[in-house]
């Protein structure tokens, strides 16, 4: 849908499109911008410090050729003092540089991570279905750490060392240009070899990162699915699979090391050869008396000082390459468009449609007054803004009760196909038409895999209908801001997820402004009073980092979350599956009261759940095959009968 880039997780390997490293890294600018002053001044400080280092050999030369040659101990003292001053200044500047960038760079990393997290939370569910969380996590941690390191070292030192090398060569050439030339010449092939290396290293670096991401996914699965692994005694084969992957990582890392080794060998040998040549030449000239001993010492000292800047170019480039790769990976995710991006053109269209509806031309609510729709719409807005307190829900129901055909939850020709489904595959939903009247509870029944859960996910727009529209009290859901829509519609998922927060907070997620009373009521409805018996009652931490609860307990908390604050629309996906019969009966009794005042769609697998509803819709073959009361459908529909009682359930009568 809105997502443009494909996850390369499974495919591994190199990116087909090659962006240059510089262009990738330039994308970091918006994050670096706020700290640019500090970063630039730190670079300037580092340049000065580095150049001070170059002055030291000159002082040395002065000492050797001056006071030392002239046997002048007093002059030696002066030179020593000068060396000390330079050394202290160098130390202070190095420290200053780090102090300047320390906190700002930590904040850049944090800002990028916060942005990533914020962005990921707003990406459509379809994106998350495709990207394993391990891949996302490795972007949020390893890659961002790499980027911070890049900003702290390679970025600055590529500049600093570049300047130092130039300044150093200038000094060398100005002192003795023939000797200087001997040192400068090998720098040219070195730079060429470095850039050759850069391109080859890029591919390998990316592969390593991707493979590490895959490895993370396997680790996650191994941990999350540990009961199954154990239950089937599969830990050996699991470990084998893990080993195969980590061996892959190893061999890629070794490949990377081979490249590095070659580079290092070149970087060590070439400058050293040049220095050797300069030494031999220099010695001859000193012997000839063309050159002072001090100059030779200073010359060699400078050349050796320059070794680190030259040597470091290789690994600085490597780190930059890693960083460029990390940047690409980061922006792969950041470039995915958030769910809201798809909205922009839509409100206009739907508003137009709404207008049509208001003038009575919309065939779907022919008989019922336009006023009703407008009025309900207004109420919805009020309800949305003031928080979905139950009185609004009740009010909405009263307002449209009876003949409120425009109100309620309405599906019109809704189609849905997964974005990455092959084109020849029929859509999951192929034109769902369903109207749940205001205040009504509709049970949704269908065979396993008929698309019930998918249909429920469309209402809060976790997935977007590919065609058709869904309206809440006459308002197209795509015209509603997501926030408002999701405040109107409360959902309980089949798989209840609790977050690391207190039990109370987990429930109150459903309605931000609901108070203690609402909380208690919701807990009562969901028969989740066990919460009070937890060590710290509703303040007990649950979720990943807190107390573990059983499946049934979690399901009841999730149900409480859905009903808290009396939402106007309620979507429940098989909310009682993990409960025992006894608890289920209690929940049902309490739930009935809540359902009386809301418009609800309840996915049901069992007669007991179906009986909560006023009417039942049978989803079959991607369409609503029948709507009616439980009794009527039992009588009329063989498929329904088989779904509810398991009798006569034969393949032919299932979805066509």
């Amino acid at each position: 849908m809105a997502v443009t880039s494909e996850p390369r997780a499974q495919e591994g390997g190199a990116a087909p499109r090659h962006r240059s490293a510089t262009r990738s890294l330039l994308r970091l600018w918006p994050y670096v911008r706020p700290v640019r002053a500090r970063l630039f001044s730190a670079a300037a400080v580092a340049v000065v410090a580095s150049c001070l280092g170059l002055v030291i050999p000159l002082v040395l030369k002065w000492m050797v050729d001056g006071p030392v040659a002239h046997r002048d101990p007093g002059g030696v003292w002066l030179g020593g003092a000068l060396l000390l001053a330079l050394g202290s200044a160098e130390a202070a500047l190095f420290g200053l540089r780090r102090w300047l960038v320390g906190r700002p760079l930590a904040s850049v990393e944090a800002a990028m991570r916060a942005d990533l997290y914020r962005h990921l939370q707003r990406l459509p569910v379809s994106f998350h279905d495709r990207w394993p969380s391990g891949q996302l996590l490795s972007r949020a941690t390893t890659d961002l750490m790499l980027l911070r390191m890049f900003l702290a070292f390679p970025l600055t030192f590529l500049v600093v060392n570049g300047v130092t090398i130039l300044a150093g060569f200038a000094i060398l050439l100005s002192q003795e240009w023939t000797l200087g030339l001997v040192l400068v010449v090998p720098a040219v092939p070195l730079v060429i070899l470095c850039s050759l290396f850069e391109t080859r290293y890029a591919t390998v670096a990316r592969t390593v990162q991707d493979q590490t991401g895959d490895l993370t996914t396997v680790v996650e699965e191994g941990v999350l699915g540990v009961r199954i692994v154990k239950g089937f005694g599969r830990h050996r084969s699991q470990a084998r699979a893990f080993r195969a992957l980590s061996e892959q990582v190893r061999s890629t890392e070794l490949h990377k090391a081979r490249l590095l080794a070659t580079l290092w060998a070149l970087i060590m040998t070439l400058p050293e050869l040049a220095i050797g040549a300069a030494l031999v030449l220099g010695t001859v000239r000193v012997a000839d008396g063309d050159l002072s001993a001090g100059t030779l010492v200073a010359f060699l000292s400078t050349a050796m000082t320059l070794r680190w800047p030259v040597e470091s170019l290789g690994f600085l480039l490597a780190m930059s390459q890693d960083a460029a790769t990390a940047t690409d990976r980061y922006f792969d995710v950041m470039d995915a468009e958030p769910a809201t991006a798809a909205d922009r053109p839509r409100p206009a269209r739907t508003r137009g449609r709404g207008g049509e509806g208001a003038s009575g031309k919309d065939d779907t609510d022919g008989e019922d007054g336009t006023g009703g729709e407008v009025r309900t719409g207004g109420e919805v807005r009020t309800g949305g803004r003031d928080g979905p307190a139950s009185k609004y829900g009740a009010g909405g129901r009263d307002g449209t009760n009876g003949k409120g055909a425009a109100g309620g939850l309405r599906f019109e020709g809704v189609e849905f196909a997964y974005a990455d489904a092959p084109p020849e595959e029929p859509p999951v939903l192929r034109g769902v038409d369903l109207h749940i009247r205001s205040g009504e509870t509709m049970a949704l029944v269908g065979a396993t895999g008929s698309g019930k859960t998918t249909l429920t996910a469309l209402v809060p727009r976790l997935h977007e209908a590919t065609r058709g529209r869904i309206t809440l009290d006459g308002r197209d859901i795509t015209a509603l801001p997501r926030e408002e829509l999701r405040a109107l519609v409360a959902v309980a998922f089949e798989e209840p997820t609790l977050f690391s927060a207190t039990a109370g907070e987990n429930v109150l997620m459903g309605a931000a402004d609901a108070g203690r009373e609402e909380l208690l009521r919701a807990l009562k409805v969901a028969q989740a009073d066990f919460v009070h018996a937890l060590p710290e009652g509703t303040g007990t931490e649950v979720g990943e980092q807190g107390l573990s609860l059983s499946g049934g307990q979690r399901q009841r908390l999730a149900l409480a979350r859905a009903v808290v604050g009396g939402p106007r629309f309620l979507v429940l996906d098989d909310p009682l599956s993990a409960l025992d019969v006894h608890t289920e009966a209690l929940v049902e009794a309490a739930l009935r009261e809540v359902l009386a005042s809301t418009t609800a769609l309840v996915v049901a697998h069992r007669p007991s759940t179906v009986l909560l509803a006023d009417r039942v819709a049978l989803l079959s073959g991607g369409r609503i095959a029948a709507v009616g009361t439980h009794q009527r459908l039992l009588w009329e529909s063989a498929e329904y009968r088989s779904l509810m009682s398991g009798q006569e359930a034969e393949e032919g009568e299932r979805s066509p």
Binding site: G80, E247, A265, M268, S548, H582
Partner: protein
Amino acid sequence: MTTVEEERESADGWESSGDWNGDEDRGRGTSSDRFDRDVLPVPKGASLALLRSLLSPRSRRVWVATVLLLLQQAAVQAGPLLVAYAIDRGVPALRDGSHGPLIAVGAGYLGCALASGALQYAFIRASARISQDVLLDLRGRIFRHAQALSVDFHERYTSGRLISRATTDVESLRELLTEGLEELLGVALSVVYISITLLYLDWGLGGAAVLSFWPLYLLIRSFQRRSMRVYRKRSTAIAAVIVTFTETMNGIRPVQAFRRERANDKRFGEQNHRHERANGDAILEMARYVVSSRLVANTAMAAIVLWGAYRVASGSLALGVLAAAALYLRRLYDPIDRLGMFLNSYQSAAASLEKIAGLLAQRPSVPDPTDPKPLPPRPAKAPGREVVFDGVRFAYRTGGEVLPRFDLTLPAGQTVAVVGATGAGKSTLAKLLARFYDPSEGRVLLDGVDLRDLATPELRRGVVMVTQEPFLFSGTIADNISIGRPDATRAEIEQAAKAIGAHDFIAALPDRYDTDVRKRGGRISAGQRQLVAFARALLADPSVLILDEATSSLDIPGERAVQRAMDTVLRGRTAVVIAHRLSTVETADRVLVMAEGRIVEDGPPARLIAGEGRFAALHQAWRDSLV
């Protein structure tokens, strides 16, 4: 079925925390629970022992790498010595018309340059080989160990933390091994070489250089101490960030549906900020170190050069020696701030290693037998195996009795339904039988053999448990089913799927049995996943099958299909079926009703229904719900 029992629930759920068993008068275990903080006890010296055990199998390679590094550093450090030789001997010799010394210098320098390059190449490759092998070994160990640790460990040591052991902590070791260690060793070696060379060139200058190590050593030590603290803080902070991140991404549906984005942003922001602070602290700690160490180094250098120059001026030192000393000193002190950087990665690697060692030191509470016994051979048509709970009592190690002492015999081939409210101890019973836990007292016997004496493969061939959480691994549907029996053929896999009624939906998937569940994982419904889990269990063909709420997400036709399959498939097996729904129970030979950890009713379903007990009441409630 009173609500009082509800309070005990958390003792029993499949992922209950062992520490908190639901007795409200026992305070919250959290504050004293070491699992809550990220600290597992690390036995003294465990980190070192781990390191040794990682390196010792590769000791030959380590030696080769060490020799390579020794030679390489020797070649690199020869340079200034040759400079001194050139100035002090080469120049006078040339003036005397002798080219010998100069040629020697030239040849020596050429040789050293080539040797240092070649040796560097060889060393990097050798050390990469070692470090990658070590990482491979370590990753494997963590993974295998995590798999070997018992379920109660996993229930308490959250998955996020476990994952960060295997990823972030390994990563920081990787950083040390691939980026830091060789430089660290190189620096250490160069310090030794240079000191020796300086001492050889001139006792006084060398001695002064060696003396300067003392303040530097003190500096490094204090830096090490301070940064250790900072790094601990930082790695705890990043762990919190990871947990929140993972939790959000795995629960993205409820996050979006309940508009948690902003609240999450805030929460994540706080944790992220805490990490930012710790990160900044670490960097500033480093800055402080760089300033002070540089200052000491530069002062020492200025002083030594001054002294040397003074002595050259007064004629007691050769100029070449001073030149060499100046060059050597620069080299000696140059890596000092990089040394801090490597110590950095060394620090965080050490912290990580300690955490990993702590994890690896956790002994599985359900250990493999040292002297495994085989199960008695099962006659071809024998109906499953007999299960005996012999004086079994179960309490969590931290206290809190879940199952009081009981005896129970399940004859071979019997299908036993276990019912009771959540928290009655049903799952614990099942987990004891599957040996996810070991009983605190007594024995669980399978055909007369204590489960503790069975080797894992033997046990898992014998007993298979299907839980209510149908987790699918990445891979194809077929891969997921064949977890039950990896060597199964495609036909056998399909047969298992058909038997359980999963074939239809699988056949409707785009790539049928080869459909990748991760790519389309969101689209395989909970019920379908449960069917896959069932097929997996069927394929495993165990003699004892445990179903723990395994049908909770199935619709009625699905459940019926499973039941039909069970009627045929369970024949010839001992089966323990835990179900909230009683439809499954009717087909059982025997029903156990549990309440508060005790078996309160036991008998064939018909007799219990006819009676007046709990089961009769439960059954009535269920019949009512069917309408």
